[in-house]
Amino acid sequence: MSKPKSWKNKIDILAFKAGRGYFGVELGQIMRLYILTPDKVSKAGGNMPKVITLLPEEEFPLVDFNESLGLAKQEGKTEDRTTVIVVKSDDGPIGIMVDEVEDLYSLSPREVYPLPQHIRGRLPFPYIWGLGLIYDRLLLLIDTNKLPKKAEDCRLLGINHTQVDRLKAVDF
């Protein structure tokens, strides 16, 4: 599960940045992180999607938060820190490509808020389970089971669908 059903103590959240958005994923959901360097990213010709080479024998869907679900990318600022966060989900691991991993935070229950109904009712997917307060900033806490996995899902969220595909593992 990505959303803790109940908890009395603090939860650990890894904060990451994508475009102008700030997100958080519960630490227990994270399998591993990859820092992407340009030599691991290649583009196939024609309409073929971007291919990212990672460790051998790994294959999982990749959700590209780099284009930030419709938010403009912060050009030139976080280019070198692109990271793939591999998270658990009920359907198996998913890779989330983000601009930059920020920091780890421990949030107490009183620092976690539900998403307002105004917003929840307008999301095409309930991919945010709550909001975490870090000083005066809110993190969108993502539900790894509700992330878009198909191109159609991504289109609804405004992600460039060519950047979402089955991640094919290739030696590097």
Partner: protein, 169 residues
Amino acid sequence: MSDNGEKVFIEMGQRQREESDQDQTEETLSLLTFCIEKDWYCVPSSQVKEVTRIPKITPVPGTPDYILGVAHHSGEILSVIDIKPLIGLDKTILTEKSRLLISTIEDEPAGLLIEIVQDIIEITKGKIETYLSGAGSEQKGYLTGRIQIGEVILGILDLEKLLYLGKKS
């Protein structure tokens, strides 16, 4: 705010006080007035909890463009709504004068982005010219009526409708 804008509101205030003196027996309504681009709008003060500076807004990807995101203010989470795209205008560009009007209409507080807050005025309800729903321009869909004070026309925004559409449309 421009000198011309200040003159307009000085005149509005004078006229409003004169009219208020004349109509003391009539039922009055308190309205918060503000500017969006070059037009003047108002909302009943009873529907406004607070007007505050713009807090840090976290965008929420996947929501319509009139939802700017969420913000934390005084221990509460606000959804922040830009009125301008809803009334057919370009999105608001935040400036020093931008403010957040926090509504008390629904259980969940919502913040509506406005540009220049002017004043609170008292008007007699008989001065309000009501709009028929669905008639006219896109803006009229969000207006319950208008009032004219001197040469200034103020549209009375229907906060309930703005927030309802923000949830359902």
